[in-house]
Structure formats: C-alpha cells, structure tokens
Amino acid sequence: MSRVDAAAGKGSLNTKDGVSRAVVAVLAWVLALGLLVAPVVLVFAEALRHGGAAALASFSDPDAWSAIRLTLVMTVLAVAINTAFGILAAWLVTKYRFSGRGVLLAMIELPLSISPVVAGLAWVLLFGLQGWFGPTLARWHVDIVFAPPGILLATLFVTFPYVTRTLTPLLEAQGAQAEEAASVLGAGMWSTLWRVTLPGAASALASGVLLTTARALGEFGAVSVVSGHIPGLTETMPLHIETLYNGYQSVAAFSMAALLALFAILIVALRGLAGGRRPIEDGLA
C-alpha cells in the first residue's frame, strides 16, 4: 500500500492527505456494503431463517434436485458449445482480415444487448406450436420449446458472445506472426490454435468461460419464456426459485438462491484468480 502511495506521489488528489483517502474509503465501503454485499448477505439470512436444517431439508424435494441437475446439464452443454465455437470465431476475426469482418463482430456481440425475454420469444416464434416449425416438429414428435432442448437454445443465445468478446482483444494484440511462423514450419490450423495461440490467452479464455458459466447457470428471462415451468421437468434453478417464492416456500426459495449465490461467489473468486478483471474489452460489454 505504502509503495503505491509513494508511487502516486504526494501531490495527487487521493493521497494528498489521509483525510480525503479516509473519506473515500468510508464512502466506498458504505456503498459497497449497502449496494453489493447486503443483498448477498440477505440471501443467506433468509435461507437460514429457520436454521440450517430447514434450509438443507428444502433440497430433499425431488423437484429441487431435478432443477439442479437440469441447470448443471444445460450449463455444461452451453459452455462447451459456446466455448468451442467462440474460440474459432475469435481466431477468425483476429488472425485474418476479410471484408464483412466488422459486421460479423457486431453480429456476435448482438445477443449481449438483446433483452433475454426477446431471445426466448424468438425461439418460441420458431419452434412453438404457433411458430414456423412447431407444427412440423409436433408431427414428428420432436419437443424443443417447453422441453430441455429449448432451454439449451435459449441459454446458447444469451451466452453466445462472452468467450469471443473476452478473447478478441487479446488475440488481436498478439498479432498473427507466431501463427504464421508455425504454419510455415508445417503446423496445421488445429495444432497452431492449440499450441501457439491459446497458451498465451489462457487467462482470458478462463475469464470468458467463467462469464459464460455464470450467465448460463443464472439465466432467467430467456429460459422462462421457453420453459413452460414444469416442476421436475423443465424448471431450472432460477425458475424453481420463482416457483418456490410464489408458493410461500420462502426458506426453500432462498436456500436454492443461496446455492446459486455460492456458485456466483465462486465464479467471481475464480475470475479474480484468472486475472480476468480487465477493462470493458474483457467481455463484460
């Protein structure tokens, strides 16, 4: 700390005197505790309102387990798919120059600024019974909307850009010389990507995967529109929280919320370890 202060120089605003720094510290911590910490503490307080046993008992409901299972399966699939394609897309837009590259980048970013509800709606318009392909699929007895595949599609849409967005600035900064050297030496595309490009981008990749995971675990709006809310079948954890909350099962709702909050805390911690907290280019945008 003192080293930083010294480096900042005694004339700068924040270190000129201890008083102003103390004021900043107090204000910032009051804000952080009130705005950011209080909600998380409240989740655990409400879950433990009737003791730890009551909180744990709420997980004995098979519908709770089914929601946890569904959420984890959807998350793993969505993260795997979007990571694989996201890496290729990031490679594409950073290592080559081609016409339409800007449009492609913009399209990849598009899901970030689309309301999740609208994303869910779009899938229903495609695959719902009133949608383009719904009647055909129904004849073939293929369930997409109101079944797990629809949930996966909704999750894929909302988590689409994170890996690409996180990797792009880093791969861009790397340039393409190392890759070209490798290819001159006879390396194919996959081994170039795997051995040359990705090792230098490991922490950015980890950060992007973690963001994708967080969003996939917690997606509510998009999944809510396509799910049908069938307990035990198509309710993910965030949806099950709503059902429990509406069913006067406050402790159970907050216990499930606490589990998701633990995941969130874990992800934040891992992102910190991955050194993921960089500027807006780091995929938050």
Binding site: V73, M74, G134, F146, G228, H229, I230, Y248
Partner: protein
C-alpha cells in the same frame, strides 16, 4: 470444406440438443407413465395433495401401475398460452372456461369439452372475497368500500390471470346491481376501483404475495381458497377474511387435452385423473384446501368454513365469450379503464 464443417456443425448441434433432451430427463419418470397437469395459480397446494392421492388410487386399481402426475402453476391465461405453444399438457385445470375454449379453438380438444364431465366440468368452484389486514382497520365490508380514497386495492392483471377476471366480473356484477345502476355507472365504478390498485401482478399468487408478504395494499380481492389459505395457514393471524354482500360463482373447469393424450398414449390415465377429481376422496382434499366441492355431501360437511353466499354466475354476463369480448379483449372495458387519462 465449408460444406463439411456445416454438416459437422449441424450434426454437433443435433447431438447436443438430443443430449439435452436425454440427460435432462428425470430418472423416476422413465419407468412410469407421466401425466402433466397444467393448472392455474392458487392450486399449488391442492394438486400437490390430489396428485399423490390419485397416484395411490390408480396404482391400487390398476395392479400397481405407476402414474406420475406433475402440475405446473401460473396465471391461467399464461398457462393456456404455453399449452397452445406446445407445453405437453395431458390435463388442463384452469381458472376459467374461456382459457380452455381458446385451446379448443386451436383444435387441441373438442369444442364440447365442457359437457364431458359433471357440473360443467367443474369439480370444485370458488368465489371472490376480500382479504384485509387483521381487525379490518380500514372497515372494508363490501365492494363500495374499495373505491374510498383511503383504500388501496390489490388485484392481479385481468389480461393474464383467471382470478383477476373473476374479480373484475364480481365487482362489475355488484356495481350493475346497485339501485339506478347502468353500464356507465358500472364502468365508472370499475375505473374508480382500478385507480386504487397500486400493483397488477400477472397471476393470483403473485397478487397474494404482494399483499401478504410484501405488505402492499389494504385489501386483496382474491379467490376464496387463496384468501382462506392466507388467513388460516400462512398468515399467523395477520389477516381477516371479508365476504362481500354478493359475489361471483367462480368456476374453474378441467379437461383432458385430446390431441396431447393421443400423442402420449395417456388417454386412460388422463380420463382417470379428471374423473378422480369428483370422487369423495378428492372432494374432501379440495374442501381441505378451501375449494368448494361440487359433491353436496362433502360441501355440507365444510359449511362452517365455506358457508353458502349470494352469487351470480358467468351466464349473467352472457357466457365467457361475450364477457371476454366486452371486458378483456383489446380495446375492451378494461383497456378503456387503463388508457391514460
């Protein structure tokens, strides 16, 4: 090359979707027949118990055959929408007949569905009452009190909630029966009423939560079953129930969704389920959860909690189609009330 990856991508995508479908399927349902009951908001506790009773009953009568019943709950209109969109409901138990009519209009079941079961396919009825804070501090006794300037009213959104539509009709019916009443005076009353509404949840349960858990409003206009649940089971004495001088006979009907049960091969089980609702055992469970049994013998046993009250029914509005068109369709009375003034 691009074609190749295209095919590979499509294959991978198809595999992932298939995996999603398979992996996410719950294990216990694999051996059993599954029935999905898509229901309206306040029936969570009711069907949780009836589903279990039916499963036991069915297994007893059919040599141990396991039928798993799952129930999903939400605003009645919202639930009908998801069935219309492909939610695989074998049975619908919705808040009002119009929502099932909508399914019939789209060919999911026969138009005469309401004639297939006793009592207009309504195993349990209910009515609309008031839930107030304990001791009734605002002295709310009848519909006329709801438009007082010191009263704040909680009721859900009639566009999405079945209960809210019954609430609306109950209030309108009272206003239209006042001395010297006209359609205009009834509409003026409704406008004054909705001016007192600070929150418009999409389902009846959301509205109850707003009143009970979030402490909003002085009075909740609610299903009688929902209000009694709040008074007797979850309220800890914080609420009182007020029955207005007159209300609506609310009839939430049930039906088997023909097209879905044919696709699932669950016709017998689904028929069995809706018929089970009329058995004394299910009627008792209904009464226990404060739904008015259609079985008069069961109803008589619970008359202390569910006393007879003065009601009018949907036919006094010319049936659901007429009521929906007049009050709740786009540009209808409700929209006129809600256009900014």
């Amino acid at each position: 090359m691009p074609v190749d990856i295209g095919r590979r991508g499509a294959l991978a995508g198809g595999l992932a979707l298939g995996a999603a479908g398979l992996l996410a399927r719950p294990t216990p349902a694999q051996a059993a027949t599954m029935l999905l009951n898509v229901s309206y908001d306040p029936t969570r506790e009711l069907y949780a118990e009836i589903d279990r009773a039916f499963m036991a009953d069915w297994a007893r009568a059919h040599g141990g055959e396991v039928v798993m019943v799952r129930t999903s709950n939400g605003g009645s209109g919202a639930q009908a929408r998801s069935v219309l969109d492909g939610a695989p409901a074998d049975v619908v138990t919705l808040g009002l007949g119009y929502d099932i009519d909508m399914l019939a209009a789209h060919g999911l079941l026969a138009h005469d569905w309401q004639l297939r079961l006793p009592h207009q396919s309504t195993p349990f009825s209910s009515t609309i009452v008031f839930l107030v804070r304990h001791g009734n501090p605002k002295k709310i006794h009848d519909w006329g009190d709801l438009i007082r300037s010191d009263v704040s009213v909680v009721t859900p959104n009639p566009k999405t909630s079945g209960g809210a539509r019954w609430n609306f009709l109950a209030a309108w019916g009272w206003a239209a029966r006042q001395p010297g009443a006209s359609a205009q005076s009834a509409q003026d009353y409704m406008k004054a009423l909705f001016a007192r509404v600070p929150v418009l949840d999409t389902g009846a349960r959301g509205a109850t939560n707003s009143f009970v858990q979030r402490g909003m409003g002085d009075v909740l206009v609610a299903w009688e079953d929902e209000a009694l649940l709040a008074v007797r089971d979850i309220g800890n004495g914080a609420f009182d129930l007020v029955r207005p001088s007159i209300s609506v006979l609310a009839e939430p009907p049930v039906a088997v969704v023909d097209r879905n049960v044919q696709a699932h091969g669950t016709q017998a089980q689904a028929e069995g389920f809706v018929r089970f609702l009329y058995t004394p055992a299910a009627q008792e469970i209904g009464a226990k959860h404060y739904f008015r049994p259609s079985d008069q013998a069961v109803a008589a046993r619970h008359a202390d909690v569910l006393p007879p009250i003065d009601t009018f029914d949907i036919s006094s509005f010319g049936g659901w189609s007429a009521a929906q068109a007049k009050f709740f369709a786009d540009g209808g009375v409700f929209d006129q009330i809600y256009t900014p003034h």
